[in-house]
């Protein structure tokens, strides 16, 4: 009984904070107030303040986490509805995603390695642009720490959601194609949730980019690990 109360409590808390933060974001439309960031911060603050461990939060949180799977499956719908757009841009999509995906893995490894971090850490940072479950699989395969990879994936996603708007506008990369592909490749599903804000075309481009990037990443990730640590 206590467990059910606890689960329900954390589920309702998460939903309530998320909707409050969504209302805030709609009223004050500032990029760093996107609900995914503000909700995360508020929940962490509450947990720390009341000395609640993460595992206790997950008694309820796991139920929300379970819906992530079907939510990702749902991205097939914008993908399908925008199939003409995707067909029209097939070459820009494939080349952009391939080059971007390789850039993400290689630049992360080069930067972390030259800063003198251990092999384990460097290899954990390698798959950071790829969606969490695959990033964790790649990390396991190449000798990184999956849980740490998940953290880097989240840092990549959140920084992308936070700053992409300014970054893409500054470099004139903010066409529909540029936004969709850039967000999908560099910031996976978290970025795709930002792309949905722009519209269905961006959302579908971003989900295609994320999916393709996951496929390229699982093929080339181990190769890049071998090149640097073979």
């Amino acid at each position: 009984m206590q467990l059910i109360t606890l689960s329900l409590g954390f589920i309702l808390l998460t939903i309530a904070i998320y909707f409050a933060m969504t209302v805030l974001y709609m009223k004050v439309h500032l990029p760093f107030l996107v609900p995914i960031i503000t909700t995360t911060i508020v929940i962490i603050l509450i947990l720390v303040l009341f000395n609640i461990p993460y595992d206790t939060y997950m008694v309820g949180g796991q139920w929300i986490d379970k819906l992530l799977g079907p939510a990702v499956v749902s991205l097939a719908i914008p993908l399908y509805k925008q199939r003409e757009l995707l067909k029209r841009h097939i070459y820009p999509i494939i080349t952009g995603v391939l080059v971007g995906c390789l850039t993400g893995m290689i630049s992360g490894v080069v930067l972390a390695k030259s800063a003198g971090f251990s092999k384990e850490l460097v290899l954990s940072i390698l798959p950071k642009s790829i969606t969490t479950p695959i990033a964790m699989q790649i990390a396991t395969q190449i000798g990184g720490v999956p849980a740490l990879s998940a953290v880097f994936v989240i840092i990549a996603g959140i920084s992308g959601v936070l700053l992409s708007q300014y970054f893409l506008a500054f470099f004139k990369l903010d066409s529909t194609l540029g936004r969709g592909i850039g967000l999908g490749v560099a910031t996976h599903a978290i970025g795709t949730s930002k792309a949905i804000e722009y519209g269905e075309q961006e959302a579908s481009l971003s989900s295609v980019a994320m999916t393709l990037s996951a496929i390229f990443g699982s093929i080339f990730g181990p190769v890049i690990a071998l090149i640097f640590y073979g």
């Binding site: 929940i43 962490i44 997950m58 799977g69 952009g96 971007g100 540029g178 699982s218």
Partner: protein
């Protein structure tokens, strides 16, 4: 009634997710179940096996609150704070720089390839 239909549609999407997980396990496909499920739904829609109407409103409900499903995962960052103290704090700017390099390169390449193709098309139409 509408809510019931939506819930049923979400259940169908969940079913695809489970099938994706199952395929991942038995065929050792290096993609997570959710992405395999996405490809399955997309394939089924393209081959007209699945009607868009059967899942659209449920999918739309999930996508309209997509960020909330990431919250349990992002809150986990609180357990890794110690990794990012001291020298480890460098890992954050490294991740961010690499992320924007990735984003810039991906956007730039896709935009310039699209431009080049458009130019070639325009050129061949003129000649």
């Amino acid at each position: 009634m509408k809510i019931l239909i939506k819930l049923l549609q979400v259940a169908v999407l969940y079913g695809f997710y489970l099938v994706g997980n199952w395929l991942h396990d038995i065929l050792h496909i290096p993609l997570p179940g959710s992405i395999i499920g996405l490809l399955l739904v997309w394939g089924a829609l393209s081959m007209k096996v699945l009607n868009l109407k059967w899942i659209e409103s449920g999918a739309h409900s999930l996508l309209s609150v997509l960020p909330i499903f990431f919250i349990p995962a992002t809150v986990a960052v609180m357990n890794y704070g110690h990794f990012f103290s001291g020298k480890g704090s460098l890992l954050i700017p490294i991740t961010i720089v690499s992320t924007f390099l990735t984003m810039g390169v991906a956007s730039f390449v896709s935009q310039s390839v699209a431009k080049r193709i458009a130019k070639r098309k325009a050129g061949s139409e003129c000649s």
